[in-house]
Symmetry: C2
Subunit: 271 residues, 2 copies
């Protein structure tokens, strides 16, 4: 069995576990602020993924939202970047619209990406060079769209901040419309399926984007920081994910005009 | 057969038609601006609903997005308020996340509401006094939530406008988070199911809210204009739909502080 096949089975099993636990009561714990709810499901799912990866591949590294591998940096070998529940607020308030996300990297290069929309039972998956799939259906290359005919994923929360608002408002005004779904991993795969033209957010952790980025790249999309630079799986970053045309348009016509804000955002997130 | 039973069958049949037409090519026509796409599906679905209502109930009135009954005002008898495709942009860009909406009123009083999430095959429906249902499952009364623990439905587009932004930003900042799904009818039923605490928009047509409002009312929620006044099915209006506690909090702590903006919005939409 390849690592890709193993991961595919593992994420589906993890989803079955999540559904089981959801039928029991959800005990909610509050981390630093009410926007950062963590549930038992989050922790137990990360443990499930971590334990199973380590049992099968003792030499692989794991970086996870709930505390695994936060000290890793530029490891040689295979690194799994996992988010047990992406969209925790949706999980808690809606009991849907959340995903399990896995990105696998080998010697720093992307190998395979998985985003599992658990309640809709849709697995998005891609092995580099072999195309991206929605369950068993191969996703077509995404089409280029200019901003003015694109639907953009961006959370209203970012528009209320003074500097971020100045940078993001003209984008929202020029776009055909905007959406906010509350799960970065799902919003990135919505770009890969063309449901969104692009997705923008000022701060994302590697486990939020690692899986989706590989899927998006496999259909010809582009994901970088707001300077247009490659993303590292060892650092949080501001993010723009889009089809090629829209990505270039956003960088050139918008983010370059706000280079000070972009650098400020970027530096604030450096380790 | 009661009007309620007839309407329930009719909206499901209309959904089947929509799916059929979707398999053919979608010809898109542009109305006044690119945000207002109309498709053949929109027009043919309204015609399908209108013709079938009139065939069975020749004396009933119909108000619809695509041009029916826009001259009606305070009719005696039964009035159907229909939106053949609520969330046209989602329909065009995503081929999902749109709904057919029907609200039925008798001598000015609400009688029954229907919102059909076509691609997920979920029918939300309510007959006044008999509770609201998601397919066959009765929806519980919605719980009161304060703004600070609520997820609010609000489109990022409204935050970029100077006066609207001033009014809406403090709401978004105080809320736990914000979402934007691009279909008013679905966002209103998300309030009815508790997936959103509230939904706010500065301009909505009667066909966008007539069905959802009846469903929301049946689970104890409240929908009014931003002054807290009842909505008319003959006029567009700014809208706030929420659980009772959140509705009161939004009116008292937010909209009353911006009474000039609220009155301006309201008057601009008067016939």
């Amino acid at each position: 069995m390849t690592v890709y096949e193993f991961a595919k089975g593992l994420i589906l099993e993890a989803g079955i576990n999540v559904k089981k636990i959801m039928k029991q009561d959800i005990e909610i714990e509050t981390k630093s602020n009410p926007n950062d709810l963590v549930t038992n499901v989050d922790k137990s799912t990360e443990k499930y993924l971590f334990d199973n990866i380590k049992k099968t591949y003792p030499n692989h590294f794991v970086i996870g939202e709930e505390g695994h591998g936060h000290d890793l940096k530029d490891e040689h070998g295979v690194v799994w970047v996992i988010d047990p529940i992406d969209g925790t607020l949706n999980f808690v308030h809606q009991q849907e619209n959340f995903a399990i996300s896995i990105g696998i990297y080998h010697n720093g290069e992307p190998y395979a990406g998985f985003v599992y929309d658990v309640m809709n039972d849709v697995l998005y998956h891609a092995k580099v060079g072999e195309g991206a799939f929605e369950n068993g259906t191969r996703l077509p290359e995404i089409k280029d769209t200019p901003l003015k005919t694109s639907i953009i994923g961006i959370n209203p929360n970012w528009l209320t901040k003074p500097r971020l608002g100045d940078m993001f408002k003209p984008i929202v005004d020029e776009a055909r419309s905007a959406r906010a779904y509350g799960s970065a991993a799902l919003e990135i795969v919505h770009v890969a399926t063309g449901k969104l033209g692009g997705y923008i957010t000022p701060r994302l952790q590697p486990w939020d984007f690692a899986g989706g980025l590989i899927i998006l790249s496999e259909v010809g999309g582009r994901g970088t920081n707001l300077l247009g630079e490659s993303l590292s799986i060892y650092e949080p970053s501001p993010i723009v994910m889009a089809n090629q045309k829209l990505h270039a348009e956003l960088i050139e016509n918008h983010f370059e005009k706000h280079i000070e804000t972009v650098r400020l955002l970027q530096n604030r997130l450096k380790k």
